[in-house]
């Protein structure tokens, strides 16, 4: 309350001088006296941004479910070091200025202690220098570009950024480890026509090329963002006649692609198919029985892995709370809050520098299993399986049947992120 009064008084002072500032009055931020945070004084505020409008709005909902549930559980159990956890959500859209404005609002106006979320890689990269200026920890829960951790954190030394989800290594490198044991020797791709798609395909080609000498890559077709008609791309692939198909299409576009590829009976001609983000809940539920069997899928988290009591209990609670199976962004959003809790309690402070120090190398037992935040690049190391789709009596959608695990330590690039020694195989 005292805090609020201070803001008001300052606002009046300023208001006497400026009528223009009056329009923005509530934004005036206490500085000086309040800028120095005493030993954890609550509440702990987390500003969370994710895409909540447009064609990907469903992802925002899933982010929100996970983070909100973590907040409820943490607060019911006494909060973070005795302080209440509060989360505010904002729509990040897909445009960078919006993401930057949100981050600045959260920190400078709403006085957030931590930031989380972010779906788009471009936004995550643009937020790098902003986070350094605002000096708050940002936990990225979805954006996957390896440049964020390799360049922004490791090379440019922006220590405020952490990432709790698996990056493109899981989509590119890990896929190559799985592909090397498949009989397919020619591979082609239909992937998104933006950096994410290009990077993953490049990684897949490089790593697979090193693991298996006699493979070749025979075709690629790049689908622009928002593609609803994949038939021309499917024609390109059928003309290339590969034995294996690799596609980093994701979310709604992957659903559309699979449906249209099925109509063209592509899966009968190409038997080895890999979808690095095919194990996303929206895709599995969206396709239901239409998802073909024996497709290799993976994701940033799959709700049936690991088969631990922590994960199974969590999935049950999540089902009860939201009547949904948890999507991978629900898990990363959920785990993020517990990462903040653990770091703050370990540091005995919510001060950014102290929290960064506590979080570097920190272990976190989360639904997805044990994560370790790598000290050098702040990337969470944890394992997500690759699996073959199979029907199940228990679920109205396909799940992973046979599973293969490529451990994070074997397929994630390593510091110093230069030269061949930094890239798998090690």
């Amino acid at each position: 309350m005292a805090k609020k009064g201070w803001t008001r008084r300052r606002f009046i002072q300023a208001g006497l001088l400026t009528t223009g500032a009056a329009a923005l009055g509530g934004f005036a931020k206490p500085t000086g006296l309040w800028a120095a945070t005493p030993k954890i004084k609550g509440p702990i505020k987390v500003g969370y941004q994710a895409v909540m409008s447009g064609t990907l709005a469903g992802y925002g909902d899933f982010h929100r479910m996970g983070a909100t549930m973590a907040m409820e559980e943490i607060n019911a159990a006494g909060g973070i070091a005795g302080n209440k956890l509060v989360i505010e959500f904002r729509d990040s859209t897909l445009k960078t200025p919006e993401a930057i404005q949100n981050a600045r609002y959260f920190v400078d106006s709403w006085e957030a202690d931590f930031l989380a979320g972010v779906d788009s890689s471009g936004q995550a990269l643009a937020l790098g220098p902003v986070m350094a200026e605002l000096d708050r920890v940002l936990m990225v829960t979805h954006a996957a570009t390896e440049k964020l951790t390799e360049e922004q954190v490791f090379k440019n030394g922006i220590k405020q950024i952490f990432r709790i989800c698996s990056p493109t290594y899981q989509d590119g490198n890990a896929a190559a480890f799985v592909a090397k044991d498949l009989p397919a020797k020619t591979w082609a791709t239909v992937s998104p026509k933006y950096e994410y798609g290009y990077t993953c395909w490049e990684m897949f080609k490089n790593t697979l090329g090193k693991l298996k000498k006699d493979v070749s890559f025979t075709g690629e077709s790049w689908a622009p963002f928002g593609t609803t008609d994949f038939r021309p791309h499917i024609n390109t692939i059928l003309d290339a006649k590969p034995e294996g198909l690799y596609s980093t299409e994701w979310a709604g576009e992957l659903i559309t692609f699979v449906k249209q590829a099925k109509q063209a009976r592509l899966f009968e001609r190409i038997t080895h198919v890999m979808f690095p983000v095919g194990a996303a809940m929206d895709v599995l539920e969206g396709l239901g029985a239409e998802m073909p069997d024996n497709i290799w899928i993976s994701g940033r988290y799959f709700f049936l892995y690991p088969d631990s009591s922590q994960n199974n209990d969590w999935v049950q609670r999540f089902r009860k709370r939201w009547n949904h199976y948890p999507a991978y962004v629900s898990e990363t959003g959920y785990a993020t809050m517990f990462a903040f809790k653990k770091a703050v309690e370990a540091a005995g402070s919510k001060d950014t520098a102290a929290v960064i120090q506590a979080m570097e190398g920190m272990q976190l037992d989360s639904p997805a299993g044990r994560r370790v935040f790598r000290k050098e690049d702040h990337q969470a190391m944890y394992d997500v399986p690759w699996g073959l789709t199979a029907a199940s009596d228990k679920y109205p959608f396909k799940i992973m049947g046979k599973q293969v695990m490529v451990p994070a330590k074997d397929c994630f690039n390593r510091p110093p992120f230069e030269g061949d020694e930094s890239k798998p195989p090690f």
């Binding site: 223009g20 923005l24 409008s53 904002r90 960078t96 404005q101 950096e195």
Partner: protein
């Protein structure tokens, strides 16, 4: 009387801007910086739109040209901000000459559609020329280096210092655009809007004048884009998308189409409104759309138009 009142309002506005720069919190300074950049974009745009009566859907391309021009210059040539801004402006100016050359052959809806087509070509180029533009990641790592002026160097890394650079450029822009509006050139533009044929009979080359207006507005868009890239330390492809071209149109109509200060007032309302709505609801698009409807149906002259009618 009116003249005095206008001068008084302008003086007051300037005083407020300076006070915000001196005493505003970091977020207020950031948001006001964005308001000023949008104002430059919209005021320049209004030379073409309000003054000449041409509706363009492609000016985001020039905004992006400014942003990428500055970004590429500062990443590869020199990080001097003023040189970078100049590079951005030159890029936007050249691009608008090139595109304008084709577009001014038409007016009205055909002009709008041509600008849309060219604007989207630029968007597509930015998106696809990854090795130069960084694709959808954009240009990352644009820094605000100090402005070196011989012996002294002015650091603009601090938001406050950069705020005053934008304010200075905004004032320069306002003065320039005011001069343009009241020059013989500007009067011909208004003549073209009101009665194209009469102007043509007077022996004026309509195309050249339209092209002039097009390039002027494109150049100011470039200035806005360059300033935005410095503000956000980033240039992004969506800044070239047609939906971004809608921003100055929206802002001008909110503020008042045929008024001089309309684009500025509209920019303030646009950004403050959006920020305020987001504080109350997650359905910001719904509310923003509804408020737009009210403005169009009820306040057709825009805010400045309503106010000046009121004053009389």
């Amino acid at each position: 009387m009116n003249r005095h009142l206008n001068a008084f309002i302008a003086g007051l506005a300037l005083a407020i801007m300076i006070l915000i720069g001196l005493f505003g919190s970091r977020f207020v300074i950031y948001l006001t910086s964005r308001v000023m950049i949008l104002s430059i974009f919209a005021m320049g745009y209004n030379v073409l739109f309000g003054r000449t009566g041409l509706l363009s859907f492609g000016h985001a391309a020039f905004y992006a040209a400014g942003a990428y021009g500055l970004g590429l210059y500062s990443l590869h040539v020199s990080s001097h901000p003023l040189a970078g801004i100049l590079a951005g402006i030159v890029c936007a100016c050249l691009l608008s000459v090139l595109i304008g050359f084709f577009c001014v052959r038409h007016t009205e809806i055909y002009f709008a559609m041509l600008t849309l087509a060219f604007g989207m070509m630029v968007f597509s180029l930015i998106w696809n020329m990854r090795s130069i533009t960084g694709g959808d990641d954009g240009l990352v790592g644009i820094m605000r280096a100090p402005i070196a002026l011989g012996l002294v160097a002015i650091p603009i890394i601090k938001p406050q210092a950069y705020y005053f650079l934008i304010l200075l450029l905004l004032i320069v822009s306002i003065v320039l655009i005011y001069r343009i509006h009241h020059s013989p050139f500007g009067l011909v533009l208004a003549g073209i809007r009101e009665n194209e044929r009469r102007v043509a009979f007077a022996g004026v080359s309509l195309k050249n004048y339209r092209l002039g207006a097009f390039v002027i507005s494109g150049t100011f868009a470039g200035l806005a884009g360059a300033l935005a890239a410095l503000l956000e330390s980033h240039a992004e492809p969506f800044s070239a998308h047609w939906s971004h071209s809608a921003a100055p149109i929206l802002v001008t109509l909110i503020g008042g189409l045929q008024t001089f200060s309309g684009p500025i007032v509209g920019s303030v309302v646009f950004i403050v409104l959006r920020e305020t709505i987001e504080r109350f609801t997650h359905n910001w698009m719904l509310w923003f759309g509804l408020i737009l409807l009210v403005i169009i149906m009820g306040f057709r002259g825009g805010i400045v138009g309503i106010l000046s009618r009121w004053r009389k």
